[in-house]
Amino acid sequence: MSGLIDLGGAGAAALVRAGDLDPRELFDAYRARAASNELNAFTWVAADTPADGVYGQAPLGGVPVAVKDLFCTEGVPSQSGSRILEGYRPPYTATVVSKLTAAGAPLLGKTNQDEFAMGSSNENSGFGPVLNPWDRNRVPGGSSGGSAAAVAAGLAPWAIGTDTGGSIRQPAALCGIVGLKPTYGACSRYGMIAFASSLDQAGPLTRDVTDAALLFSEMVGRDPCDSTSVAFPGPIDLPSAEHLRGIRLGVPEELTGADGGIEPGVRASFEAVLALAEGLGALVEPCRLPHAPHALSAYYLIAPAEASANLARFDGVRYGLRVAGTGDLDSMYSATRAAGFGAEVKRRIMLGTYALSSGYYDAYYGTAQKVRTKIAEDFRTAFDRFDFVVTPTSPWSAFELGAKTEDPLTMYLNDFCTVPMSLAGIPAVSIPSGFSDGLPVGFQLAGPAFSENRLLDAAHALERAIGFEGSGARG
């Protein structure tokens, strides 16, 4: 059985298509591992093995996929990590999940996450924290921590998550796997329980870059049900690059200097990858993103503002929890929300409501939107000279449970290197770059909008050169 589990997603799919692997056997092996769930990575695991025969020639070969809880899946609990949606089974399925099923990736289970995707450690889940498979006293990152831990630990061959300010890339980094945040609009948001609509984007979490490209290739596409989705210009190719000759990598001083608080082991790994990149033929030079240090502030106004509007729908009327309060309508609303939302969600609703409130709108929300314009301009200018901008994904490796929960601001600094790309709507991928004190470290590459093919190619060349060994987390 360990042989099956050591196959990546693309490898297993190829064996199924060649007729050398029964997809039901693969599904059963993963279902057993997912159901054991010692990391609290899953909130629900499929009970039935899909019928035989439908997956033989499908592009994803019947290789099952783990799906972040916030993707609505018909008849299956979809709670977005929140007690306010406990037991909620939606009447429809998110477009991205339907597409993956149709392409031959049946649903293995739903993965734990920070409540409504708000968090960087999974400690904000209403269903308990996920544990990092490299060290169970540590967090897996967040908010897609269940997906990241499941893939790293071999409880799932591959998974999908969502990234609003780093929620795919940061847990991928902390768990030693690959995570891609696509260009905004590349994947439909239909059926994703919304956090911040102008930032949320679905993407793959996988063991390697090839798996990420394969899964992503079946996720993209314009969807009439999401009018902000756009047709991806051309197909997604499987990466093949083995060198970086002629590729120019920009290292932004603003994100890699002393201000980011990058821990020494993370910096050492980052610099080692830059040296490897030069060895593969890349040109590595400093670049400037003058407004990037302000990205975190802009993000923590824009995302909570959008969240405060999106989360208004949880009011005890149409689905989820209802608490009676003192008997009238307003009391029912506020008592339901008080009982159903966790501390971080309440904090962000308050922050967002304040930023949008009369008298403060221009000073906070309006200013943040202007900063967003400047950040996007900074990237455009950088991409005139550079193919990609590179940074460490997270300033630090996986931290101990409880280490950052007391101070929200410290927790928010997790997103220091990932938020600028989210605000600009551009694609970015995190790949494992090595270890810091035995814990995985991530290396982030970001490119212009719709540059995913080039981006994944470069990530593939680096991945080969780095030779990260992830089997240690699969136990």
């Binding site: 909620y88 009447p91 429809y92 905004y184 609009g185 102008s198 009439p224 009018s227 902000t228 756009v230 407004h291 302000h294 502030s297 802009a298 923590y300 106004l301 405060s308 005890g316 009327v317 149409r318 689905y319 989820g320 209802r322 309060g325 003192t326 008997g327 009238d328 309508l329 307003d330 009391s331 029912m332 609303y333 506020s334 929300r337 008080a338 939302f341 309440k346 904090r347 609703i349 308050m350 922050l351 409501t353 304040y354 409130s357 000073a363 906070y364 309006g366 200013t367 939107q369 202007k370 900063v371 967003r372 314009t373 400047k374 996007a376 929200p408 601001l409 928010y412 600009a424 709507g425």
Partner: protein, 96 residues
């Protein structure tokens, strides 16, 4: 800096009931976060257009043709209080 009255005002706008302890904690935590965020107000952003959306899509339109939708029965299946084909709610303003 957010004081207690501001916290209560914002909580009322957000339809969020807060305990006394939460009001105190929220005032301190939000003040700290806002102190950090304040720095962006020092930037010179004169004449900069705000970005509300990063994708260059304007008015995504489609033909107005009927399509199948959820039945009322299915749409009401998760409701805490389905009532006569609709969503039941407490009476506004009813005293407890």
């Amino acid at each position: 800096m957010l004081d207690r009255d501001q916290v209560l005002h914002v909580a009322a706008l957000a339809q969020l009931e807060l305990s006394e302890e939460e009001v105190t904690r929220m005032a301190a935590e939000l003040s700290k976060v806002l102190d950090h965020i304040e720095k962006i107000r020092e930037l010179d952003l004169e004449g900069v257009a705000p970005t509300s959306h990063v994708v260059d899509v304007v008015n995504a339109l489609r033909a107005d043709e009927p399509r199948p939708s959820l039945s009322a029965e299915v749409a009401l299946r998760s409701a805490p209080e389905p009532l006569a084909g609709g969503f039941g709610v407490p009476t506004p303003g009813a005293a407890g």
